[in-house]
């Protein structure tokens, strides 16, 4: 596969992630911070995000087990952190799920929290899988036009 074809594939994959509502403008903002000296900046940031979010998911799961009653404040705080991290990488749909979860926290709905958390985990896993494929393809295709910072 020639370089241009690879790059077109990468661009198409990225566009698809946007079309599906999975990513937002923040992802583009991060890409614009890449340059020759920092060609994998976005992937590095996303990897850090995975580390933080895995830890937070575990904490939330633990907190959801400590019922009677659920500590909604604690859950809301944990989810605030999760949301922040997701927002920082442009994870649009995951961020929306975070907001929903927080609404259930505020409403004091244990059932709502549990349901929306399951949904959130699904969205998170789906995005993670797609991003992993995206970065793999991007690395194969080599530096792209988006890495256009002149410094």
């Amino acid at each position: 596969m020639d370089r241009n074809q690879s790059r077109r594939q990468v661009a198409a994959m990225k566009q698809s992630l946007f079309d599906q509502g999975l990513l937002d403008e923040q992802f583009i903002q991060l890409e614009e911070l890449q340059d020759d000296a920092n060609p994998n900046f976005v992937e590095e940031i996303v990897t850090l995000h995975y580390r933080d979010s895995s830890r937070l998911i575990t904490s939330i799961e633990q907190a959801l087990k400590e019922r009677n009653p659920l500590d909604f404040n604690k859950l809301d705080t944990l989810m605030h952190q999760f949301k922040g991290s997701s927002s920082s990488i442009g994870a649009k749909k995951v961020k929306a799920e975070c907001n929903l979860f927080r609404e259930y926290c505020r409403a004091g709905s244990a059932e709502g929290c549990m349901r929306s958390f399951q949904q959130l985990k699904r969205e998170y896993a789906a995005l993670r899988k797609k991003l992993e494929a995206y970065f793999q393809l991007a690395r194969q295709a080599g530096p792209q036009e988006t890495a256009c910072r002149s410094k």
Binding site: Q29, E32, I45, D52, S85, G90
Partner: protein
């Protein structure tokens, strides 16, 4: 050896003569990495810490009496997240503004939550600006350019900032614009 106050009163680097030194404070590892990159691209020297207490430690404001000969660290701008465990960005802002050495250092507060009362209290406490997260390169460039030009520093330009004193004049258009741009969705 210059006294602590003098070290700061040497003022900002003249445009082109040096880089701004920015202290960034955020408990999120992701956000620390991002803000560091944004600041480096904006030609700043960056120190990043993970909490308000670490920030105070770095600035020498943690109450630890250092040995004689402690040179105050020089910082031209502090950018802090609002929601942090332990000390919030607001509490850090207050401590900085209470310090005779660092009270003139501009402090920018960052938050993912667009809460008017929060924005108001930060501005009232002397924050230079309140930025909504995720922070963009254009935000950072605007803030650092502003500071490099030496605007919003001492003197007349600062008079519109509401203080705890009985100054009741309404915010100037530029402060309103800062607020307004934060409110757009």
């Amino acid at each position: 050896m210059a006294a602590a106050g003098d070290v700061f009163r040497q003022g900002l680097p003249e445009v082109g003569a040096g880089k701004l030194h920015v202290l960034a404070v955020d408990d999120s590892h992701v956000d620390r990495k991002v803000i560091e990159r944004l600041l480096k691209i904006s030609s700043c020297k960056v120190t990043v810490v993970e909490s308000g207490s670490r920030a105070l430690q770095y600035l020498g404001l943690d109450g630890e009496k250092s040995s004689i000969g402690f040179d105050t660290v020089k910082v031209n701008l502090i950018m802090t997240d609002y929601s942090m465990p332990g000390m919030t960005g607001y509490e850090l802002l207050k401590k900085i503004k209470e310090s005779s050495v660092f009270r003139e250092v501009p402090v920018v507060v960052m938050s993912s939550e667009n809460i008017l009362t929060r924005i108001d209290s930060c501005l009232e406490e002397g924050a230079e600006e309140f930025l909504l997260k995720p922070v963009k390169l254009s935000d950072v460039k605007r803030v650092t350019d502003f500071i490099m030009r030496g605007e919003g520093k001492k003197g007349v330009e600062k008079s519109h900032k509401r203080r705890r004193s009985d100054d009741c004049t309404p915010p100037s258009p530029s402060a309103l614009h800062s607020k307004k741009s934060r409110l757009s969705i």
